[in-house]
């Protein structure tokens, strides 16, 4: 195939979506943020809503998300993205509104805002990147840090007696009547990334239905914070994180997914799994 053939539109096999800007991303190589950004941008392009969407960026690694999306963006205070998204959707109901938060932002400082936005059934899409650590500030413990996992603020491993338990907030949110679609996805393999895209597409499509919150958790890695190579981090995540945070739908079309309540009913059992990063 000659160069002339290759550049013909009918031979196009891949292009970057114009919903992403030309700015160079600041994310660490191997981090899931870049993949999720691209998926969201592709969904916005495919739905043809680029001219009718407002994104809310958090405080944390993705604080600068607004530099990478070519859509209107509002940068929220730490943890308040769901409150911001609620207000914008109510004031501009014909606009697609999505919030984008990490686990420190959403599950720790912003716990009240996410609970109440979900409980009110705001007609918005929430994207939650859970990598079990504070990345931007240098690898501190998050509510989602696994028991036994070492971070700079639990250097001897998370001890639940001293530091509390690993929080599965998404399972809690799924039980609120205001959530319509709740799912946990990952993006560390091509197959999972494609499934995740389907979920995010669904979460945006749902805004047309006015039925409540569509919430997509993406379990991700933080190779810098975990002090691993990207490949090691993904392997560790698969072997450890996903045991405590299993992938899959929790609520679809306002109904619990099969086995969801059964799984939640085991949450009173002692957590036998202890993890250690250092030993890996």
């Amino acid at each position: 195939m000659t160069r002339e053939d290759i550049i013909k539109p009918e031979n196009l096999v891949y292009r970057r979506t114009p919903v992403l800007t030309d700015n160079v991303m600041h994310y660490c190589p191997g981090c899931g943020h870049g993949v999720v950004h691209r998926i969201i941008a592709e969904v916005i392009e495919e739905m043809g809503i680029q001219d009718n969407v407002v994104g809310i960026s958090p405080v944390g690694c993705s604080v600068l998300a607004y530099n990478y999306f070519d859509v209107d963006f509002v940068e929220a205070a730490h943890g308040r993205a769901p409150a911001c998204a609620s207000a914008i959707k109510r004031l501009r109901p014909d606009t697609y509104v999505f919030s984008y938060q990490g686990d420190g932002d959403l599950a720790s400082i912003g716990c009240a805002e996410v609970m109440h936005a979900c409980n009110r059934g705001e007609n918005i899409t929430m994207i939650f990147i859970n990598n079990g650590i504070y990345g931007m500030t240098g690898g501190q413990m998050a509510p989602t840090t696994l028991e036994g996992m070492e971070t700079v603020t639990c250097p001897y491993g998370r001890d639940p007696e001293l530091m509390g338990h690993t929080m599965r907030l998404t399972e809690v949110l799924a039980q609120l009547p205001g959530t319509y679609y709740v799912t946990r996805q990952a993006v560390y393999t091509p197959v999972l990334a494609r499934k995740c895209k389907k979920a995010i597409r669904q979460a945006f499509e749902n805004q047309k239905l006015h039925k409540g919150v569509s919430f997509v958790e993406i379990t991700s890695n933080c190779n810098s914070g975990w002090k691993m190579t990207p490949v090691q981090a993904n392997k560790w995540m698969e072997e450890n994180t996903l045991k405590y945070f299993p992938l899959g739908d929790m609520k679809v079309d306002g109904k619990f997914a099969p086995n969801f309540m059964e799984r939640v009913s085991t949450f009173d059992q002692p957590n036998e799994t202890r993890f250690s990063l250092r030993s890996k």
Partner: protein, 359 residues
């Protein structure tokens, strides 16, 4: 325009004015003594009348961040609270000022510090006029002294907020919030259309780009030189605001030898003290700052400069007195009289304080 006379509480006047001046959204959380704002809005159901959004948020943190986001999209949005709740909003107000957004925030002050009391006070003057939140910013502050001004300052507050793209506070107190007075209310004004906002608020992240570049609303700037530039621009706005929008009222100052300087409900009480004093032949007047920031420095300097002595009356341990002393550059003796912790001074005790100062 059809006007109508109504008897209402100060807090209700805030709510009614919001509906009638074309406010797009109110986000609030209950706290005494200002809960009637949210109660009146919920009872009036403005979403059926003008399309105004009303939401009881989960906390003051959520309320102020809803206001931040609403303002980001060019909508005219507001919240209200009382002292402890207003403290919780300070971070959000700093973000609103930093992102250069217009918003209105009402503080119906109660006595502090801490949980304090639910009775009226003016002890949040420093917090409101000197910062409150972090960073170099100012809150344009209106101080109503009647229920009519509670009503009027809502629209004025939005006008100033959009003129300067800066948060505006109405600094009221439990007296003005709770007292019932006659109020002249306006007919309903239409809210701004989305097309109007597109045209007049190019800074707003409306989500409707229609071919234009995407808009980002943020107060974050990692480059310190650029951040200094943002600060310089904001400071220029503040200088302009000091020049153009410092407001005050001078009562019986022309022949006066002494003046009270007081704002809000303390100014109302001082008006009676002026009557008592003049009945006994003491030539006293009143300067009532209407904007606390920008403080009417020139007026206080000019009028105060002619006086023998100045008595600053506040329902606090002495906060505005610092601005009065700065305005007259301490060339005229300035004395303070204050009751605080929720205690309201009587006209007689203010008159006694005046006599003590004079002798």
């Amino acid at each position: 325009m059809a006007k109508e006379l109504k008897l209402m509480k100060g807090n209700q006047a805030i709510a009614e004015a919001a509906i009638r001046c074309g406010c797009d959204g109110y986000f609030g959380y209950p706290i005494t003594p200002q809960s009637e704002v949210l109660e009146h809005l919920m009872a009036e159901r403005p979403y059926l009348k003008t399309g105004m959004v009303v939401l009881q948020a989960e906390s003051e943190l959520a309320s102020i961040n809803m206001v931040y986001a609403g303002a980001s999209t060019g909508k005219r949005v507001m919240t209200s609270s009382s002292s402890p709740g207003f403290s919780l909003m300070q971070e959000g107000l700093s973000y609103i000022a930093g992102a250069e957004l217009p918003a209105l925030c009402v503080n119906v002050v109660r006595g502090g510090p801490g949980l304090g009391t639910i009775q009226p006070s003016q002890s949040d003057y420093f917090q409101t006029t000197k910062g409150g939140g972090h960073g170099d910013y100012r809150l344009i502050t209106l101080a109503p002294s009647s229920v009519q001004e509670m009503y009027d300052f809502v629209e004025l507050g939005f006008d100033l907020a959009f003129k300067y793209r800066n948060p505006v506070a109405i600094l009221s107190d439990g007296v003005i919030g709770q007292v019932m007075e006659k109020v002249m209310i306006d007919d309903y004004k239409p809210r701004w259309t989305n097309e109007y906002i597109e045209e007049h608020c190019p800074w707003a992240a409306t989500g409707h780009r229609a071919g234009k570049k995407s808009t980002i609303v943020t107060s974050l700037e990692l480059d310190s030189l650029k951040q200094e530039g943002v600060n310089k621009r904001i400071q220029e706005k503040y200088r302009k605001c000091e020049e153009e929008d410092a407001r005050y009222e001078a009562i019986q100052c022309d022949d006066a030898e002494f003046i009270f300087v007081a704002y809000g409900s303390a100014a109302r009480i001082c008006m009676k003290a002026v009557e008592l004093a003049r009945a006994e032949g003491i030539k006293v007047g009143l300067v009532r700052p209407i904007t606390l920031w920008p403080f009417p420095k020139k007026a206080v300097a000019e009028i105060g400069g002619r006086m023998k002595k100045i008595l600053c009356v506040e329902m606090s341990a002495g906060q505005m007195i610092e601005d009065v002393k700065l305005a007259v550059e301490c060339k005229v003796p300035v004395t303070h009289y204050g009751r605080f912790g929720g205690v309201i001074p009587t006209p007689v005790e203010i008159f006694d304080a005046l006599k003590n100062m004079i002798k």
